[in-house]
């Protein structure tokens, strides 16, 4: 990013800040140097514990195909990756479980009432400008009630149009190709309609055969090869179209945007590689549509209003056409309506109170026998306050959630749930002249059983209670900008935390017969962890810049569900839960020199077990990958071209994130970008 552009953006930022009558916002946070298009978003004024963020160029240089790939560079998270471009990728924050992660797209949560999981592999980075990860909740109070509801949250912010002086439109075209038979064109067109209204349209197409070589090799204790076999991953193909359109308006009084999102895909489900079965034929079709709008307005000097609306319609079809197995052709349709009104009152200069009320309706239809056709009505009310005194900032919130489920089948009765979940956030800057902060938060959250947990024919248990998470976090953060020397600035951050997951919903065997399950609230997990992060920005002579970023996570996530299963060898009690490594981390180097940039990324995930019984049969080896990319920008009149080439998993490590789902070895990607 050129200096000129960032300066301009900073100006926009200040304007926004003034617009919101909150002159202190951002000014004393540590991320001034990070400022770019993203910080214009109107929801960060009171954020007292900064999020982990990846944005702008930094984000796009991380050899990442999807949002899931980029999230690997955050600390405290685990990605469950089934491999390949079309494979399912879900995220777990601080070992609390995928269902506790809220994923917000342009400020509004993406829902999946059916199974509560968001496949982040489906979200392309093409139009994403920033990814932010919050532990607990976003530490600001002027936000929808839903934002107070998750135990951890990922905010995906798409690009908002900004225009250079006298520029009426921006056009950007991208083409990505490489391994896995990838062809991935996209186009972005942003138009300035009037001074206060602009539009954006983005389209992307992905095609990939999803084929890649993988290898299984085992050796005998003396080092001799037992077996060594290489095969090609089959049925991992994908074809997807994404269309997004948005309108962005701002006047003196009102700031609003509205968008439409459409995604349509067909993919193969590559399946587990097991003895004698190296190929599967299951298919999946997805069609996701949503439209959403957001509006914020300062009605009075002391009173602000925020309103949001969303309608979503998701269709999924799963086909197993392999007649040697159970023939399945299921389809599921989900709908969601969501509205939100949030109000904030400035009582004094340093005391804000907000009240947010959300209403949400979900429904799920399926062509399954005896299906309950559930509907869910959720009302959320959040009362929050922020109070600043001396160099201490505090926030407290209480969220009241009322859930009413209605089912078509008379066999299951209607159920109601009413929960209160509080959160307290604290931040202190003990030294006046140093950007040193002590942060702490306590938060209790819950997740409702999903429609599958409750009503899935046969397995569902309509009597399920919510699953709770309690989090305690203590963090330190230090940032310094240096005037002299080659080190421009540095940020150091560390957090220690303790989480408890109680009433955890897990499947237990039911009755006679094979693989019949019942969902029950019997799990209990304790998680102790440390996240550490360091970011250093260097400026060398000859205009060489270097950004280094290190992340490290330690987690001890123990399964306390069944005290009787305490066999010294094979017991699950006190064992590390499935797929959570004790150690993991990442390291990135981003060089830039004039129009060149060179990036190196290293990811390490330590040894894990795929079951709470931490025995050798369940052991999973550590894996680590090295990725390298090189980019060059060309300018021709007003046109910008960029060519980048990536080589990922340089040392061709053959690894698995999930048992029997082999990951790709060395793979390549070339990206051509054109901008006006």
């Amino acid at each position: 990013m050129s200096l000129k552009k960032s300066a301009k953006i900073r100006v926009i930022c200040v304007i926004c800040v003034l617009f919101w009558h909150s002159p202190y916002a951002q000014l004393d946070t540590t991320k001034v140097y990070e400022i770019n298009e993203i910080t214009i978003t109107f929801t960060q004024q009171r954020e007292i514990i900064p999020a982990q963020r990846l944005s702008g160029e930094e984000l796009h240089r991380l050899s990442s195909h999807s949002v899931a790939d980029a999230i690997r560079y955050f600390s405290g998270i685990q990605i469950k990756d089934f491999g390949g471009i079309g494979g399912l990728k879900t995220v777990d924050i601080r070992s609390m479980g995928t269902n506790h992660v809220g994923v917000f797209y342009d400020g509004i949560q993406l829902g999946n009432a059916q199974n509560g999981q968001i496949d982040l592999g489906k979200f392309s980075l093409d139009n994403i400008e920033e990814i932010a990860l919050y532990n607990g909740q976003k530490s600001e109070i002027f936000q929808p009630a839903k934002d107070f509801g998750s135990a951890g949250a990922i905010y995906l912010q798409t690009r908002r149009p900004t225009f250079e002086e006298a520029q009426k439109f921006n056009i950007r075209a991208l083409f990505r190709t490489g391994s896995f038979g990838l062809a991935n064109p996209s186009i972005l067109w942003e138009q300035k309609i009037t001074k206060s209204l602009s539009s954006s349209f983005n389209a992307e197409y992905i095609y990939a055969t999803g084929k890649y070589k993988f290898r299984y090799r085992r050796v005998l204790p003396d080092g001799m090869v037992a077996y060594d076999t290489t095969a090609v991953r089959q049925n991992g193909d994908i074809q997807a179209v994404r269309l997004e359109g948005g309108l962005f308006g701002h006047t003196q009084k009102i700031n609003w945007n509205a968008k439409v999102y459409f995604y349509n895909s067909e993919r193969g489900i590559p399946g587990a590689i097991i003895n004698n079965v190296w190929k599967h034929s299951q298919r999946q079709w997805d069609r996701n549509f949503f439209t959403q709008a957001s509006l914020t307005t300062p009605i009075h000097r002391r009173y602000e209003l925020l309103a949001r609306f969303k309608y979503a319609n998701d269709y999924m079809r799963y086909l197993n056409s392999d007649t040697t197995l159970m023939y399945i052709d299921n389809n599921f349709t989900q709908q969601e309506i969501y509205t939100c009104f949030a109000n904030k009152v400035k009582v004094f200069k340093s005391w804000d109170i907000s009240l947010a009320t959300d209403f949400q309706w979900n429904m799920l239809q399926a062509n399954l026998r005896n299906f309950a056709q559930p509907q869910r009505y959720t009302t959320l009310v959040a009362l929050a306050t922020a109070f600043d005194i001396w160099r201490i900032k505090t926030q407290a919130s209480i969220l009241s959630t009322f859930i009413h489920d209605k089912v078509a089948k008379p066999t299951s009765s209607h159920s109601n749930n009413h929960e209160f979940t509080p959160a307290v956030i604290f931040s202190c800057k003990p030294l006046k002249k140093e950007e040193f902060y002590i942060n702490a938060f306590y938060k209790r959250a819950f997740r409702m059983p999903t429609f599958n947990d409750l009503y899935y024919t046969d397995i569902g248990n309509a009597a399920l209670q919510p699953e709770y998470v309690t989090q305690y976090n203590l963090g330190l953060q230090y940032a310094k900008s240096l005037k002299k020397g080659i080190l421009e600035n540095l940020t150091l951050k560390t957090d220690a935390y303790y989480n408890e997951v109680t009433n955890k919903i897990i499947a237990i065997p039911k009755g006679s017969g094979q693989f019949r399950w019942m969902m029950m609230n019997i799990g209990f997990v304790k998680i102790r962890g440390i996240d550490a992060m360091a970011q250093l920005n260097w400026k060398f002579p000859y205009d060489i810049r270097l950004q280094t970023h290190i992340n490290y996570t330690y987690q001890k996530a123990q399964d306390f569900s069944d005290p009787t299963d305490n066999d010294a060898v094979a017991g699950t009690y006190r064992g590390q839960i499935a797929y959570i490594p004790w150690h993991n981390g990442s390291f990135t180097l981003q060089f830039s020199y004039k129009t060149y940039n060179l990036n190196y990324c290293f990811i390490y995930v330590g040894e894990r077990y795929h079951n709470s019984a931490n025995i050798r049969a369940n052991h999973e080896q550590p894996w680590y990958t090295h990725d390298l990319s090189l980019g060059k920008t060309f300018c021709f009149k007003k046109w910008n071209f960029k060519v980048s080439a990536e080589i990922n998993n340089i040392f061709n490590q053959q690894y698995e994130v999930v048992l029997n789902y082999p990951m790709p070895g060395t793979n390549f990607r070339v990206i051509l970008k054109f901008e006006i």
Partner: protein, 383 residues
Amino acid sequence: MKVNCIFLALLIAFCFTSCRKDPEIFLHEEVPVTHPQFISIQGFYLLNEGNMGQNKSTLDYFDYEEGVYYRNIYGEANPSVPKELGDVGNDLAIYGNKLYAVINCSNKIEVMDAKTAERIGQIDIPNCRYITFYNGFAYVTSYAGPVTIDPDYQQIGYIAKIDTTSLQILDKCLVGLQPDGLAIANGKIYVANSGGYLSPNYENTVSVIDAASFKEIKQIKVAVNLHRVCADKNGNIWVNTRGDYFNTSSKLYCIDSKTDQLTDSINIAVSNFHLDDDRLYIIGVKWNYETMSNEINYGIVDVVSKQIITKKFITDGTDINIKTPYGIIVNPITKDIYVTDVKNYISPGTLYCFDKNGKQKWNVSTGDIPAHIAFIGKYKSNF
């Protein structure tokens, strides 16, 4: 003259041989009367099923002489087999010198040397379920029948006939929907059709196949969702139903193989059983929607009187340690009872050994979902 002499000698020799034999000693005659019985047992193999998609079906071995339990022996015996034994072991049996492991999701029957567990070969049968043997042939049930173009297409299963010498599939016979257990009596094969893919509209018949012609000769209507089958020495066929898990509960049924009529039903929940002499040892696990927990019984049925002898063969109270009993077998010589506990299906299970009075002798940690046991030993002394 010379020629005449030779001719005469041959004639004399012919007369001697054709007219009268040297009296032979008596050689024994073989008449199959009942199933072979062990005279000594040296150990048993245990097949762990492993959860679907995990490729964690493993083979364990217990040696009586040493008193040692060997966990996970397949990989060492067969280091060059890629991805080891496979996914979801569904049945295990020894016939002759061979050990047969039916690996359901790996679509094969792994054939091993019964003494060493070294691989001999595999028989490819998609979605294979259970195995039994008769007169040198193996019979295997499979869910994977032919595909027909039909709007109300139902997946008819079959039973395959396999030559145990060449390991080739000789013939297939279509039966009902999703056939599971099978047993042989009076020259007929009895197959339990479950219809498990049609839940809640299960299949409810036992197919009867003439072993000689290998054709289905009858379907006997029994009850919904049939599961396992065994034949007792009086020619009775015992079948259990899983029930439909809601209104119809699991039960035990008896078919007379002489008349092929359903003769008795015994009201006991049965999820697995094992026949030893005249005693049918039963594990019954029944989900109770009121208490949201499993109700478990450990029953014995006398197959002659057709009465329940007990519903609690574990007598020392140690059954409270067993969370989800799954596999059951009885040592035919010592009458020790083996019960496997699969716990939550995803973590390692436990094998429990009880003596004939139902007192726990020992227990050992197994692989995931310990389920099927086959004894190895001597049937008869060499004479």
